[in-house]
Point group: C2
Chain length 313, copies 2
């Protein structure tokens, strides 16, 4: 993660990965590059630009190495990518990303159904990735992104104990950071406050980001609770693209535009310029014509009482 | 307000007033009555069923007395209505409502532009309404619903001091309760926590409800902050109907369905059954065909990990 001192909260934009891999169409590479540039120029400091997966599985991500190469030329941008396994990690390390994120299901049924791996097999994979990093790519960070932390469509309830146990295990295996994700939009603010507080207590500086979905409209409410638990990094996606959309109107990821407005209104500096961020939608609209985008701020604009956090009063 | 001990949070459904007066079409009275019945049967304890205003100004509210009469027959329902002035108050008192709410702009420019009254003239009106109530209708409650508390489209920033001064003034004039409204969707959680905490400190038991709009998608985030400040009554509207919609997709009021899910997930009892509440939409859809309704829960359903607060674990 970036160590900037001129922001209070780091927004990690996941649209180019989580968003683009969730839609059926493939965005042309040239437009992706323009979009990533525009996102970075709006002030976003960290962007998850793609996923190193088999292009047979996700043709939308086939140009991932090229997008990384471009993103690395953008001044000050922290470039991350998702990897599901050792093979993807090696490709990501070779691409020169600053950080990789490995999704790890706390729910074992979800893990088996999704990637056909038991927890023990997942530990083996993480161990191999950490070893590879330590031996050949010591400068690159590894984040474990725990999924199904707040509930699972297969097993229903996921206990705090199971999530924290998995987080501790990941720290023991040598990852740099452990984030928590509400994979299916089941989280509520009481639970979010409780689990992130405990994560921080158990992992200290290794406690990482919050990744919320807005499937049930509770995304920003969960952000408020996470802020109280001391979370300082939030994943979000321009236009809410991605994040397992469930139904029309039920957007997936929390919307970056609305999140920036929330945080800046609350007096928390994000470094992002809302007008420039909204303008970056043009590339997404051009690259994925007709794709539904979500968010209130692009339509309603900021309030007349709005000032950026840290602006002279 | 109701004094039920089997709920933690009172949701005051304002759709039949705030919602129906905001749309161009007039919902047929018979369907309104069915809708109010269905809302009450879902477990809602308080409904603002209409507005006692000139039918020339708001023909949608011309049948208000009839809706009140019907609502009063529904067991256990606390029936409220909005009134802009003494004339409306008298009509409301005669109808037998349990409570009236008078909207009071903290922003004087907004008050003058909206109802052509200075603050001094507003105080006169409230004084007259309280006197009438005290003399002839002692059992009926009066709430002052302060508007533009969190900002104003005319004057921009509204200070906490101005809002609290107005709240104290209303208490001195003899109202039973003072609620705070984010009339134009400008509120943020930091401000909400701060202003409601101060309201409670200044007014004690007279500190009333929170009325948030979702114009900028921040409605439920503000609810989380208000809960922390000890607020126990929230206005909301089925389908988000009403609340000065600003742009397509930018719903007005916070959505009752999503609010119930938020609160119950957090372990706070509302008394509302989500399935029955969602089913009540049929009357709205029948009475206002084609009108846009908002909300995530009606589409996405509750999570598989969901249990009602207070349900046996």
């Amino acid at each position: 993660m970036t160590n900037a001192t001129d922001i209070d909260i780091l927004i990690s934009e996941v649209g180019p990965r989580d968003g683009l891999q969730s839609v059926a169409a493939t965005m042309p590479t040239e437009l992706k590059l323009q979009w990533v540039t525009a996102l970075a120029q709006s002030g976003l400091r960290e962007i998850e630009v793609g996923s190193f997966v088999s292009p047979r599985l996700l043709p939308q991500m086939a140009d991932c190495a090229r997008v990384v190469a471009h993103a690395l030329t953008l001044p000050g941008l922290f470039v991350t990518a998702l990897v599901p396994n050792l093979k993807g990690a090696e490709a990501a390390f070779n691409s020169g990303v600053h950080k990789i994120t490995m999704p790890i299901s706390v729910s074992e049924p979800h893990s088996i159904s999704n990637i056909r791996k038991t927890h023990e097999q997942v530990y083996e994979e993480v161990r191999a990735v950490v070893t590879l990093r330590n031996e050949r790519f010591p400068g690159i960070e590894i984040e474990a992104g725990l999924s199904t932390v707040f509930g699972c469509t297969l097993q229903g309830v996921v206990t705090d104990d199971d999530s924290i146990r998995m987080a501790v295990k990941m720290a023991e295996l040598g990852v740099n950071e452990v984030g928590l994700a509400d994979t299916v939009g089941y989280a509520n603010p009481t639970q979010v406050r409780r689990v992130f507080t405990r994560l921080k207590r158990e992992l200290g500086a290794l406690a990482g980001s919050a990744h919320f979905h807005n499937t049930r409209g509770q995304g920003l409410a969960n952000v408020v609770a996470a802020l109280e638990a001391g979370v300082t990094t939030f994943d979000a996606s321009q236009g809410g693209l991605g994040g397992c959309p469930y139904a029309p109107g039920a957007s997936g990821n929390i919307v970056t535009e609305d999140l920036v407005y929330l945080l800046e209104s609350m007096g928390l500096r994000t470094g992002v310029d809302i007008d420039r961020l909204v303008a970056a939608r043009q590339w997404l609209e051009q690259g994925l014509p007709g794709e539904a985008l979500y968010g209130f701020i692009p339509d309603a604009g900021v309030g007349k009482n709005f000032t950026y956090a840290g602006a002279a009063q």
